[in-house]
Subunit: 546 residues, 2 copies
C-alpha cells in the first residue's frame, strides 16, 4: 500500500438492485392477490399518514403489486433476497457492498438494542464512544490483529483537502484505540474492572457481501473490559456470551449452540473466543455473536498496566464481545417461510395488525370504529399494534402483505364481528384455518390477556420449531467418513476432535465445513478423535457456514 | 485534490492531554479537599464495584487528588477544559481533533436521545440507517453543497488494500446519499411524505477543534423528509425547529433564541435554515440545532421526482434537521459555575447522590443501612440515584467531587439523622448553607415527593437563571456604532437589518460578530436598518459565536 497505483476495480458503481434483479427470473408466482374468503372494493384514495410513517411500506407494494417471493425450498438465497426486498428491510447503498437499513429492519435492531442495553447495564457496563478514525500504526501493534484485519481495511488518506502524514483506518473493530485510551485511564487496581460498551458502525472491506450477513459497513455493539486477574476476564467473557445466549433464546427465539472456537477460528488478537452458532433455514451455520478473552495481548502491545494491591505493575486482562446487525439476517433465515418473514413477537416492530373488513359503505363506519377501539385497547396494554385502514388494498391483499412482513398476529374485524362484539385472530406461525380463531371477545380484559397469551405462545412455538429443526439436523459422527456424509447431506456433524490445525484445515478444504465450536454441552464418556483415533477431550461441531 | 502531493501536517499525533496541560499553569487552587464540617477516617480499601461501573470516575480523582478547576470568571476556556477533564466527560482521541466521549457525558447524550426519539416518532418519523461511505461524485451534484463541504472532507482512497476507482467521502452529512435512495423509493404522491431520521457519527475535517463544540468526528441525529408541496416542507422544517426549542427549554434548561439564518449563514444546499441560538456563560452564541427547508435543491440534483395527483411529474420538497453532541458542550457552558458542572435534572445521569457520614465504626452499620434504604426508595420512584459508599474518600471530598460532576441534589445521612429518621438535602444550584435543608423525613412518600419537587424546582431555577443572564446581555441597537459598542462589551446586539450581504460580512470582519438569526419573536412597529437607515422588516441578532 506504500506505492501509489492506478485505480483498480475495488469500487464499482453497481446499478441499484441489480443483485436482486439477477434473481428475479427464478421466482415462482406466489402472487400477493386477495384471498378468496374476503374482499372489499379497492379504491384509489390517499392512505392515512399514519400508515406511511410507521414503516414506509408503500413503495414496492405499489410499483410491484404483482410482487412475488421465491419459495424458500426452491432457492434459499433467492428467497432471502426477495424477503429483504419485499418486506422493505434493506437496500444496497451506492457503494458496492454497503447497505441501507430501512425502518422496518431498523426497528428490529432497536428492539435488540433495547434488550441488550438493559442487560449490559445490569452487568455493570457503561456506554460511551470511541472515535472511528484510528492511526494505521495502531493496527500494526498487535501481530495477529494486523494479520487478521489488514486485508479488510478502508483507509482515509486525505483530510481537509490534504494528503495525511499518517494514514487513518476507518474502525473495523476498536480494540486498538480502546487500549490506547485504557492505558491513560488505568493506573491502579482501584480503576479496575473498567467495563464499557459502544453502539457504532464498523467498516470491513468484504469482497463477497450479502445483506445483513456480510456488508462493507455494519452496525454493532462492542463491549470492552479490563480486569486485574485472568480469572475475572474469563468470568466476564463467559458472562457476556451467556447474555447473548439468553438474548438469542428468549428474545429472538433462535436456539443457538454456545461453545468455544477452535484456535484456527479464534478472533485475531484473542486468547479464547466464545461463540453462539445458529442454524439457518438452509442448515448453514451463522456465527451470531462472539465474546473474546483477549488475555494480555492488547495490554502488552499498548502498555496497559496497573499497580496491583502489592504495588507491582501488571498488564491488565481484557475481554471484548459483539453482536451486530448480522443477527437481523439470522432472524430472517431462522424463522421465515415461503410466505415471507416470520418475526418473534418480542422483537417484532408490529406485533398485531388489525385488518378491518367491509363490503357496503354503511358497514364501514361501525367496522372502523370497532377497529380503532381495539387498536386503542391493545396500544394501552403496551402491545405494538398497527391498524391497516387504507382503502387502496383489499383485505386479502393486506393479509398476504402483513404475513409477508412477518407480523405475529392478525386481527380481522368484519360487520358480523361488530354485531357480536367479537373478532377473529390469526397466527402467522400456523398457516391457514388452523391458525384462525373466531369469536374472541372485544371486551378489554379478555382481549388483552388473549392477545398477550397468544404472543407468548407464538414466541415459544417459534423457538420449539427452530430447536426441533436444529436437533434433527445435527448428526453424531465418529469417523471422517461419517463426517463427510453428514456435511454432504447439508447437516451439522458433531464428533470427538483432538486433531491438528492442519487436519482441521484439510476438513475445510475437502468438505467446506469448519469447526463452528466445541460446545459447552459435552456428551459424557471417553471419546476418540474422529480423525486420528487418539483420545479426545471434547466433541466439536462441524458445519458449512455463512 | 487531483494531484498527489507529499504528506503535509494535517494529521499530527499530539501527545494526549497536551491541550489540557497547556492550561494547567493558569489554574487557581480550588482544591478538592474535605470541607471542615464533616470527616471520616479515610481508608484504602477496594471501592464497591458499583461505584466504578456506573461512571468510571476513579482515574483522575485518584491520580490527581489535588485536581483543580480554573475559576470560570478568570478564564472561561480553561474552566471549560478543566470541567471536561475533571468531570470525566471527554478525552481527546489519538487522531488530532477527535474526541472520546466518556460514560458520564455519553449518558447525557443518551438522555437527549431518549427524549428526542419519542418526539420524532410522535411527529411521524422512523429511524433507519444510511451508509457512511458516499461516492465523491455525489457531493459534487449540488453546487452550493460541494462548495460548503469539500474543504472539510475525510476521503477514503484505499479499500481492501487497493486504490479505489472512485474516492469515497466519509459522511459529513447525508443529504446526497439520502436523495440517491429517496429517488428509488419515491414514485407517486402516495409515497409522500417520507419522513426518516438516523442517529450516526459524522466526520468534518475541522482545523480548530474544541471538545463537544467542534470536533473532527461527532455524533448527531439527522432527520430527512420529502414532501409533495413546498408548504408541507416549510411546515415540517418549522415543526422540527419547534421540537428543538421545546427540548432546549424543557429538558436542557437552555433558553435558546429561535429564528431564521441570514442567507450568508444558511446551510450549504438549503433554501432556508432555522436555528436555535444559545448564549454561553461567556456570552458567546452557540448554534445548538438547525432545521433546513431544502426546497427542491437536492431533488433536482438527484432527480427525486413523484407523480402528483394530476399525473404530473414533480420534484419533491425536502427538509433536513439536526442536533449533535455539541449540545452537551452547550449545557456545560450554560449552567456550569466555578465549582464545575451543573446539570439540569432532566438530563442528569445522576440526579441524586447519597453521601453517608460516620465517625465511629459502630455508627457505620446503621448509617449505611439507612443510606441503602433511601437509595432503594428513590430508585423505585424512578429517580436516578447513586450511593457513594466508598471508604477511600472523606464525605467532604465527596461533596466537592459530586458538586463538580453537577449532580443536582446531594443527600447526607449521618448518625444523628438516622436516630431522628431524617436526612439533609443540598441543592447543587444554591451554594452553601442556603441550599441545605435539614430534617427531611426518610419516610417513603414524604421523601419521594420532596425530592421530585426539588428536582422540578432546580430544573425551573436553572432555566430562569439562564434566561435572566441571556436577557441582561442582549442590547437593542439602532446604529452600527451602537452595535460595535455592544459587541465589544461581549454582548449580543439586536437591531433592524435590511442591508446587503457585503455589509453583513463587513460587520463580521470589523467586529467578529455574525448574524445569529432573525428571531421569530419580532418587536412591533416600523424599523430602520441600523446600517443603511433604509426601512427594515426585521431585527437581527448579532453576536460572536463558537
Amino acid at each position: 500500500m506504500g506505492s501509489l497505483k492506478l485505480p483498480t476495480s475495488a469500487f464499482a458503481s453497481i446499478p441499484i438492485r441489480s443483485f436482486f434483479h439477477r434473481h428475479q427470473h427464478r421466482r415462482l408466482c406466489l402472487s400477493l392477490k386477495p384471498s378468496a374468503s374476503t374482499q372489499s372494493t379497492p379504491k384509489t384514495s390517499t392512505p392515512s399518514p399514519k400508515e406511511k410513517n410507521v414503516i414506509n411500506t408503500n413503495n414496492d407494494q405499489k410499483s410491484k403489486p404483482e410482487g412475488t417471493i421465491t419459495p424458500r425450498s426452491q432457492d434459499f438465497n433467492a428467497w432471502y433476497l426477495d424477503v429483504i426486498r419485499h418486506a422493505e428491510l434493506a437496500d444496497y447503498g451506492p457503494v458496492r457492498g454497503t447497505m441501507v437499513i430501512r425502518p422496518y429492519a431498523y426497528a428490529i435492531w432497536e428492539a435488540i438494542q433495547d434488550y441488550l442495553n438493559v442487560k449490559f447495564k445490569e452487568t455493570g457496563h457503561s456506554n460511551m464512544y470511541f472515535p472511528q478514525l484510528i492511526p494505521y500504526s495502531f493496527i500494526e501493534k498487535e501481530a495477529s490483529h494486523v494479520e487478521g484485519f489488514s486485508p479488510e481495511l478502508a483507509v482515509v488518506t486525505i483530510g481537509g483537502g490534504k494528503e495525511l502524514e499518517e494514514k487513518l483506518v476507518v474502525r473495523p473493530t476498536s480494540e486498538t484505540i480502546v487500549n490506547h485510551m485504557f492505558t491513560q485511564w488505568i493506573d491502579s487496581y482501584r480503576d479496575l474492572p473498567l467495563m464499557v460498551n459502544q453502539w457504532v458502525n464498523v467498516t470491513r472491506w468484504e469482497m463477497r457481501t450479502k445483506p445483513f450477513l456480510r456488508t462493507l459497513e455494519f452496525l454493532w455493539q462492542e463491549g470492552h473490559t479490563a480486569h486485574a486477574t485472568p480469572e475475572e476476564a474469563e468470568k466476564e467473557a463467559l458472562q457476556m456470551i451467556d447474555v447473548y445466549v439468553k438474548f438469542a433464546y428468549e428474545q429472538a427465539a433462535v436456539p443457538v449452540i454456545v461453545g468455544r472456537k477452535s484456535k484456527v477460528e479464534t478472533f485475531a488478537g484473542a486468547t479464547r473466543t466464545y461463540t453462539i452458532e445458529a442454524m439457518m433455514g438452509d442448515r448453514k451455520a451463522l456465527q451470531a455473536g462472539t465474546s473474546h478473552n483477549l488475555g494480555q495481548n492488547f495490554s502488552i502491545a499498548f502498555g496497559t498496566k496497573f499497580t496491583d494491591e502489592s504495588g507491582q505493575k501488571q498488564h491488565v486482562w481484557q475481554t471484548s464481545w459483539a453482536i451486530s446487525t448480522r443477527f437481523v439476517g439470522g432472524i430472517i433465515m431462522t424463522h421465515g417461510d415461503d410466505a415471507g418473514l416470520m418475526l418473534p413477537p418480542k422483537l417484532a416492530p408490529i406485533q398485531v395488525v388489525i385488518v378491518p373488513i367491509w363490503k357496503k359503505s354503511e358497514e364501514k363506519v361501525n367496522v372502523l370504529e370497532a377497529a380503532v377501539s381495539v387498536e386503542k385497547v391493545l396500544k394501552t396494554s403496551g402491545i405494538k399494534v398497527k391498524l391497516d385502514d387504507s382503502e387502496q388494498r383489499t383485505p386479502g391483499w393486506k393479509f398476504n402483505f402483513w404475513e409477508m412482513k412477518g407480523v405475529p398476529i392478525r386481527i380481522e374485524i368484519g360487520p358480523r364481528d361488530v354485531s357480536s362484539g367479537t373478532l377473529v385472530v390469526s397466527r402467522r406461525d400456523v398457516p391457514g384455518k388452523q391458525g384462525k380463531v373466531f369469536g374472541i371477545s372485544m371486551e378489554r380484559s379478555t382481549l388483552e390477556s388473549y392477545v398477550k397469551d397468544k404472543l407468548d405462545e407464538i414466541q415459544s412455538s417459534l423457538l420449539e420449531k427452530a430447536e426441533a429443526f436444529r436437533d434433527s439436523n445435527i448428526v453424531d459422527v465418529n469417523s471422517y467418513d461419517e463426517l463427510k456424509v453428514a456435511i454432504s447431506q447439508g447437516k451439522w456433524a458433531r464428533g470427538p476432535w483432538s486433531a491438528s490445525e492442519t487436519e482441521e484445515l484439510k476438513v475445510k478444504e475437502e468438505t467446506g465445513a469448519t469447526i463452528r465450536c466445541f460446545p459447552f454441552e459435552q456428551p459424557q464418556g471417553t471419546k476418540t478423535c474422529l480423525m486420528t483415533g487418539k483420545p479426545a477431550d471434547e466433541v466439536a461441531i462441524f458445519a458449512k457456514s455463512y
